[in-house]
């Protein structure tokens, strides 16, 4: 099957995400990561309930909490690949940004290059690591492991260039957008925004 005209990506529904970090753990399990994970859980603030004011009894204003799992965005023009002196990072079939561990010399130049902080040093391998959308699974037609495990069916995987694919339909139906598209790296991952809540205290 031709993968040339495909662009595989995650679509993540922030309305459904509860920040349970099952995806974070699934990534550690699938890739046997000693410390860290290909996915991190971004939330508004340093702790889960850091937004808004709640000073008078019964009258909080602006309390809000959201979670955004962040993994490699599999950019159209990945800055991490540009930064790699060994050409160990490249765009593979299906648009997947792959890090070839055999070429990586752990110089870590890619880590600050990624504006999404999606590349990290992994002490268990003594090398850098990033999400590759479980390309070994995808080659066998299995979904990435985080998508299989997602506790609230908030993660989808598929070809965002195919307008008939489920992910494309979800992007259209839920107005999903890339995160910080203004960085112009062409991120593939799309996020469905939380639906607006009426009269929340």
């Amino acid at each position: 099957m031709s993968e040339v005209n495909k662009r595989y990506a995650l679509v993540i529904d922030m309305d459904r995400c509860t920040g349970c970090q099952t995806c974070v753990m699934a990534c550690k399990v699938e890739h046997n990561i000693l410390k860290g994970s290909g996915i991190r859980m971004d939330s508004n603030g340093t702790n889960p309930h850091n937004t808004g004011t709640n000073t008078a009894p019964g009258k909080p204003t602006g309390l809000a909490m959201h979670y955004r799992p962040i993994a490699c965005m599999h950019c159209e023009s990945p800055p991490c690949a540009d930064a790699c002196p060994e050409d160990a990072i490249y765009k593979d079939i299906g648009g997947i940004v792959v890090l070839d561990q055999s070429k990586c010399n752990s110089c870590q130049a890619c880590i600050p290059a990624c504006p999404y902080q999606a590349v990290f040093y992994e002490p268990g391998r003594d090398s850098v690591f990033k999400c590759d959308l479980c390309s070994e699974r995808v080659k066998d037609d299995f979904e990435p492991f985080c998508v299989v495990c997602c506790n609230q069916d908030a993660m989808y995987f598929g070809d965002i260039l195919d307008p008939a694919s489920r992910v494309s339909q979800i992007i259209a139906g839920k107005s999903a957008e890339p995160f910080r598209a203004q960085l112009k790296t062409g991120p593939g991952t799309h996020y469905c925004p939380p639906r607006p809540r009426r009269d929340r205290g």
Binding site: V24, A26, N54, P57, E143, R198, D199
Partner: protein, 744 residues
Amino acid sequence: MVFSKLTRTRPGEQVTRTVCPLGCGIGCGILAHTRNGVLTRVEPGDHPGTGRICARGLCGPNLVYHPDRLKYPIKRKGRRGEGKWERISWEEAMDTIASRFKEITGKYGSSSVAFVSTGVGAMTNLLTVGFAGACQGTFILPAGLGDSAGPCADQGCFGSFMWFGEDYLNRFDIPALCLVWGNNPAETEPFKWRRIREATEYGARLIVIDPRFTTTASKADQYLPIRRGTDAALALGMMHVILKRELHDTSFIATHTVGPFLVRDDNGLFLRGSDIGLADAESYLVWDETTRGPAGHTTAGASPSLTGSYRAGGIACRPAFQRLADMVDEYTPARVTEITELPAETITSLAIEYAAAKPAASYRGMGCTRGSFHGDLSFRAINTLAAITGNISFEGHTTVQHDMALFFTHGFPSFVTLLQSYEAITAGNPHPIKALWLARHNLVNQDPNFNKITGELIPGLEFIVAVDMFMTATAMYADIVLPVASFYEFDDLIVPIGNGSHPYLQLQQKVIEPLYEPKSDLDIYSTLAKRLGLEGYLDKRDEDYIRTMLATGHPSLEGITLERLKEGHMPPAPHEVPDFATASGRLEFYCERLLHLGQELPVHMEPLESSRSKLADRYPLSFSQTHPKYRLHTMFTNIAWIRELDPGPVLEINPVDAARRGIEDGDLVRAYNDRGEVRLRAEVCPGIRPGQINVCQGWSPGDYHAGTHQALTHETINPAHAVIYEPNSAFYDVLAEVEKATDE
């Protein structure tokens, strides 16, 4: 191109369908991968039927192969709690235990040997109760550990078993409104949350009532930060508005509740046939508007009155609904605002919305039942609110009736409730407890009043055996510690436990051989039984017992076999269940048995340690210890991968309360009251209501700078709970003060 969610096996791997049986009450299906007898990884099994996996469940292998796992029996060498141990053989361990049990039985009677067990597996739990019975010992009922106030309310109202009362309130296909009371299922009960989330995606409004802004609250259309322990008052205020506006469902009340039953003005008891000399002496009486006289409640053609005041056979009486209306009349929105600190217009609009929503589903959590000493009244008020608006579901009541008596072949134990066990140990009431066997029960960490446990209970016990996978805060105080098999190392039957979770039966399958020397509970008890001379007790294999448990002949188990469960989960077979298993067969919002306490109706009572009590002058902050998001009680605190997500305890405190005490985010603080203290870092966050502080529970004393959160809690017994079911630990009905601290 469709990608598969099906499990992907690697060469040489075997996959077994088992279950994650941990106590979050869900029982998610698990596909366990093994290679050469080693558990390599786990994946979610056959969802969505039985839930999905979570970060904890994925760490199952990390528990099994944890380097700190107890490998062989050990006995204490130094003082209790000193942490000096000596390896012993199973023979020596069993010989010692048998001889100490015999010795203590000889001195104080067999009931002085007590057993307590926590866990989910049907066989595992029944084994400990059964073994206590075979020894003619005592079994300590563990539901008082924060769980029993719910059943106290629901057994009274619905006649339901354990946590199945929740099903009456939210088993609707597509509710129009989801009202969540003191519950955070988005973090702690993912299966329940999935149902709520799906309802909201179909258009249901979601309203969350909680002193703490949780992930669940963040998903809500409306969030009501109620004052801790006042949920009953809010429900009563809503009923006030509903009755004033006549938005209640009279037909449902008349048909399904005790609303029309006449209650005597003189003694508060239901008026019965015998009171006025009717032939049907036991019949409840109603006032028949057609004949203008009393009639048995089953009388055909009668049209029972719900309101008014009558004289039947010379006895003044009112329908129970009238008594409810009279009581609720006092809970005006203005008064309820004063109690709950929620705006009066919010209470009114919530009541109107709730009554109009068809149907409105309610979801209740331990924030209600632990938030107040009178948490049962909160649940009863919420149940009554649902009853008078007809928001009661009769769907999905599929309790399984497996054999629960199979291990009682050699007798029954004495039963003591968890909170009563304190006095049994310290004062011999109702009888002395001198030896304690703790099967996966972390007494020191999870039971109330740490300083009493370590200062009075532990010293009051002559012999302590801990059966666990790890050296817990409790095992540290034991005289002998026995290593137990993990849930990947023995078979068990996992039955549904209600509380809004799925109804399936599942098999916990032995996936690998136990590592090192641990034994399963069955092996441990059967070995000890021989030492104690219990001939023929526990001489079969676990599979035989599971077959016996399934062979009750009850219609719920028709067609369910061990072999079929090996393939996957199974729902109970369809069978008839009564609408309500109460004495009257109806929803009993009026409870005769609580008349002597003035709680026949679900009134609001201030918490024992109310933020408005005299005690609050010294200790103004309400302390709670909600369930954690990434751990399960103490479990998983020792898993490095989980520690990455949840590094350690913090005290959540509102910026207003923090500023008043000169506390900044990250400061070391000391929370304390007359019972004890805990020192930890502060997390200053607006999500916690002013006046409320919180620590996500489960951390051990060693995780704190000093003390422990359970040093703040108490074990006061509520007599109302004792009447219906068993007394609950009011873990969040606790006042404390906080100050900046230093490290010693």
